[in-house]
Amino acid sequence: MTQVTSAAPLPAFQTAALSKTYGDGPTAVHALRDVDLKIAEGELIVLLGPSGSGKSTLLNILGGLDRASSGEVRFHDASLVAMNDRALTHFRRRHVGFIFQFYNLIPSLTARENVDLVREIAEDPLSAEEALDLVGLADRMDHFPAQLSGGEQQRVAVARAIAKRPAVLLCDEPTGALDLKTGVRVLEALVEINKRYRSTTLIVTHNADVARLGERVIHFADGRIRVIETNAARVPPSELKW
């Protein structure tokens, strides 16, 4: 197994002096300040830091949900900064899978249909059955979100995110609303997908223990990268505790 110990020669993402400011004048909030970062293709990175430290802002900008105030973000050789709304939508559609803390499933669609939703706009998607099987929910496919537990709902969200075989998987506090046991199952699914499809995976968390499964851990504070650690000994999700 290839152990990535530093920025790989083929960066998926590259940022330079990336900043994000909300508002202006004395009430301006600097969510990100001069972030320079390279993320290799297929890397699994954990962004760690207290709330308000800028990690989610970075994730949103990398995912094309938000725009930088200044600086540069590139996905391969395309500049996200230069993209208009339509191009960003296309970028998300083709390359990005999102997973949020509160699952954000469509309540009126079954698990299978939630996955089908992205299959409709993807180029070479997995079947809903494959995607749900990957997260261990093959037997719950025809249940509506209201009929699933929180962990199950989050795993449907993971299945939905991976069904289009995204180049990038962005996870914002994916275990934040879950207990240890269900959280571990979700993380196992994420790790497995990263391994199997080489999706560049970023996991935002404020849980230091979760950081142990990342290849690299980027510590955020006050909108800046405080330190980037390379995990010499990654831990499988089953050994995590919180």
Partner: protein, 792 residues
């Protein structure tokens, strides 16, 4: 300081209302529309009623009248002695053909004599300008105001009149109105043509001389003592005047002017109920939608208030107050708009009804009624939502809501879902999961569409009425009425009038028809077989022949008599020999205008033992010789009147266009507000509820257009469901309304007009599309990150 007086909850209330301002505006507008019509109708009706009562009282409007052939003046003393007769006045009345150089056709006028000894004690005149005629000067005359205005006649103007076969040159000394002529139309005409028909008052001596009636009278008018039994007095009058050719005393209900006013008031009452009821219903729907959403988003606040110790009733009152603010805004709007609308309608009425003055005013009770109705409507709309707030237990309210469970709604849609993409499934399942809300939206949109169907039906019905009446039933150019019945041989002279291409005789008799306990006074017309000009109308607007035997009754007349084909009815002449007979009803006919009885002209002559007598003729004219024809008949003394069908048609169309046209635009505006309001509220609520789902779709990579489909698609599915319902509802309402508006003067029947339905559907869908478009703009502003990170 003002701020300090506000309870914090009230401040929250004001902010909530501000947040709901678009919903509030929709509710206020809908209430404003409906209740302004209520205030206008009720206020206008009361204004008309009051103005009429004041006018009648101030100018001594008659209670009873009797027309006769001629009676000596001494009979007046006998009439005065009839118990309960408070006042009596005898007059000489008749008609004159006028030669006004301003118009090509002859005009005509109703002539009324003024008493010898000063002003009339009954049916006094409201002099607008000028003076009373000098009894010593026979040529002096007073003319009615509308007629003078239409022809531009001023004091001192001269007017050539043919009275009783002699030509007179009259000098106008006064211009006036009178309570018996609030509404003026020529005999046989339903609509005023002020340039062609007016009223002329002249001195008694002058008219007696003109009609060779010195020492006699042919009209008697009466005022009764308060509380008098008019039927008994009428019977006594009939008894006293029987020998003088009286056609029977009649009350205000048979006086054209008063009857029109009463019909108008009846229609105002119909309007006061129908439209507002519609709008109140919609307002209740809108409040239900808006408040339901607010209470859903306020769950945690409700829990908090209850946790702090606020009683259920206090929480309920807090939310009910916002609905009451909507009601107040709507009622305020309605009060202002009602006054403006009322004044505009009063302006139209002033052209149509000739009162000395007519001002719109609505009393406090009317406004109070409107406010009460607004409060009732929003309360009904609010009650379910407020009840939900009351029922919510604090602990439950403070916990985040569970995601809506769609498992229950998946039955039918699962079968259908196979054929649909995921976005369409979302639409389908939401409708299925929240059927009550979907139904509310469907019904709201359907009601707006129904209103449009109804408003579109009115012009269609009018067009049908005018087409049948003027193109199928009455194809003559002119109808000549003789001053007195003539022998059929006169038709030779008639056909020799310049420009006459074809002439057709008719006979008309005033009769009393009796069947069982019903008695109706109407006209019976005698028509020839194979008539080409004036024809009877059967079902579905097609011409039919007069009955080969017996009598045909107009449907409305048959209904009043409760008579069917085969029944024998009694018929009695009200003038002449007063012959009574029994005759069998042979058929029911459907004339669009009027509700008379019809017979073959020869049968009618034989029945009244006057074969070969005719009352007038219908003529087809060569348009090239129109001027020559008119020049001759302007000087033909034997004519009592000439009715020009094209002019009658024009005046009827004008009246309909003014009345129905204005109402129609109002209806369309109201329907737009209704459809737009419902669609907008529904779309806003859908948007608010689905914000998270829509943001999710955007995050997943769906474009704005694709996401809009989910939002707009739901609304459009509901709008499409509303189409058949709206059409059906509109048709039923139209049929019902036509019945309400039916009078013995017109018979409306609901006409299916595909164009009207197409317009109603297209216009409603356009309103829905406009509302959807506005709400859809919200998708552009979706805060994807904010929405997704927030917990529900």
């Amino acid at each position: 300081m003002v701020k300090a007086r506000f309870h914090p909850l009230d401040r929250k209330l004001l902010r909530d209302v501000w947040r709901m301002r678009i919903h509030a505006a929709a509710v206020a507008l809908v209430l404003g529309c409906g209740l302004s019509v209520y205030i206008m109708s009720v206020g206008m009706r009361a204004s008309l009623e009051r103005t009429r009562a004041d006018y009648y009282a101030a100018y001594q409007m008659m209670d009873l009248a009797a027309d006769l052939v001629r009676a000596p003046d001494r009979v007046a003393a006998d009439l005065q002695r009839i118990p309960d007769v408070a006042a009596i006045e005898t007059r000489i009345g008749g008609y004159a053909l006028l030669d006004a150089p301003q118009i090509v056709e002859p005009a005509s006028a109703r002539l009324v004599s003024l008493p010898l000894d000063g002003r009339p004690r009954i049916n006094d005149l409201a002099m607008v300008r000028g003076r009373w005629p000098d009894p010593a000067k026979a040529e002096e005359a007073v003319v009615s105001e509308a007629f003078a205005n239409a022809l531009g006649l001023e004091i001192g103007a001269r007017l050539a009149a043919t009275i009783h076969g002699r030509r007179h040159i009259l000098t106008i000394v006064g211009i006036a109105n009178a309570p018996e002529f609030v509404f003026v139309s020529a005999p046989g005409e339903l609509f005023p043509q002020p340039e062609r028909f007016g009223v002329i008052w002249m001195g008694r001596t002058a008219l007696a001389r003109a009609f060779d009636m010195s020492g006699t009278f042919n009209e008697a008018i009466f005022r009764l003592a308060p509380g008098a039994d008019s039927r008994r007095v009428s019977a006594a009058i009939d008894e006293a005047l029987r020998a003088y050719g009286s056609s029977g005393a009649y009350g205000r209900d048979r006086m054209m002017s008063d009857r029109f006013l009463s019909e108008e008031m009846k229609q105002l009452t119909t309007m006061a109920i129908f439209l507002p009821a519609f709008f109140l219903l919609i307002a209740a729907f809108l409040v239900n939608i808006a408040l339901g959403r607010v209470i859903a988003t306020e769950r945690s606040n409700i829990g908090l208030l209850k946790a702090f110790g606020y009683a259920d009733i206090a929480v309920a009152w807090h939310y009910a107050k916002s609905a009451l603010l909507f009601a107040a805004a709507g009622a305020m709007l309605a009060s202002i708009a009602g006054i403006i609308l009322g004044r505009a309608v009063a302006d139209i009425y002033r052209d149509y009804y000739h009162f000395p003055s007519l001002d719109f005013s609505a009393d406090a009770a009317t406004f109070a009624g409107a406010w009460a109705a607004a409060i009732c409507a929003v309360s009904i709309g609010a009650i379910f939502s407020v009840w939900r707030a009351v029922r919510l237990a604090p602990a439950e309210a403070l916990a985040p809501p569970r995601p809506a469970n769609y498992a229950r709604a998946s039955g039918v849609s699962s079968a259908l879902a196979v054929y649909l993409d995921a976005k369409s499934r979302i639409i389908l399942r939401r409708i299925q999961r929240f059927p009550r809300r979907a139904a509310t939206t469907v019904i709201g949109i359907a009601l707006a569409m129904a209103l449009l169907v109804v408003s579109g039906a009115f012009p269609a019905v009018m067009t049908q009425l005018l087409n049948v009446h003027f193109s199928v039933a009455n194809r003559q150019d002119v109808t000549l009425s003789f001053a007195a019945p003539r022998e059929i041989a006169v038709m030779h002279a008639v056909t020799r009038l310049p420009g006459v291409i074809y002439a057709e005789p008719f006979r008309a008799d005033d009769v009393i028809l009796r069947h069982g306990r019903h008695e109706v006074r109407e006209a019976v017309f005698g028509l020839p077989f194979n008539a080409r000009l004036s024809r009877l109308i059967g079902r579905y607007g097609a011409a039919v022949e007069p009955p080969p035997a017996g009598i045909a009754l107009a449907r409305a007349l048959a209904e009043r008599l409760e008579a069917s084909p085969g029944d024998a009815i009694e018929i009695e002449q009200v003038s002449g020999r007063r012959i009574e007979a029994r005759i069998r009803v042979s058929s029911i006919v459907d004339p669009m205008v009027g509700s008379s009885a019809y017979m073959n002209i020869d049968d009618l002559g034989r029945l009244f033992r006057e074969p070969d007598r005719i009352s007038g003729a219908h003529l087809a004219l060569d348009p090239a010789r129109y001027g020559a024809f008119n020049a001759v008949i302007k000087e033909t003394p034997a004519l009592a009147g000439a009715s020009f069908l094209r002019q009658a048609e024009q005046s009827m169309r004008r009246t309909f266009d003014e009345g129905v046209g204005v109402m129609n635009y109002l209806y369309i505006a109201f329907a737009a507000i209704m459809a737009g309001g419902v669609a907008f509220s529904a779309a806003r609520v859908t948007m608010a509820e689905q914000e998270r789902d829509l943001a999710t779709l955007r995050v997943l990579g769906f474009s704005r257009g694709e996401v809009s489909y989910v939002l707009v698609g739901e609304l459009f599915v509901l709008a499409l469901l509303a189409v058949p319902l709206g059409c059906a509802l509109g048709t039923l309402l139209g049929i019902w309304l036509m019945r309400l508006f039916q009078t013995d003067m017109y018979s409306f029947s609901f006409t299916f007009d595909p164009g009207g339905y197409a317009f109603a559907i297209a216009f409603t869908l356009a309103c829905v599309a406009a509302a959807a478009f506005v709400v859809r703009l919200g998708i552009d502003r979706l805060d994807m990150v904010g929405v997704l990170k927030a917990r529900d």
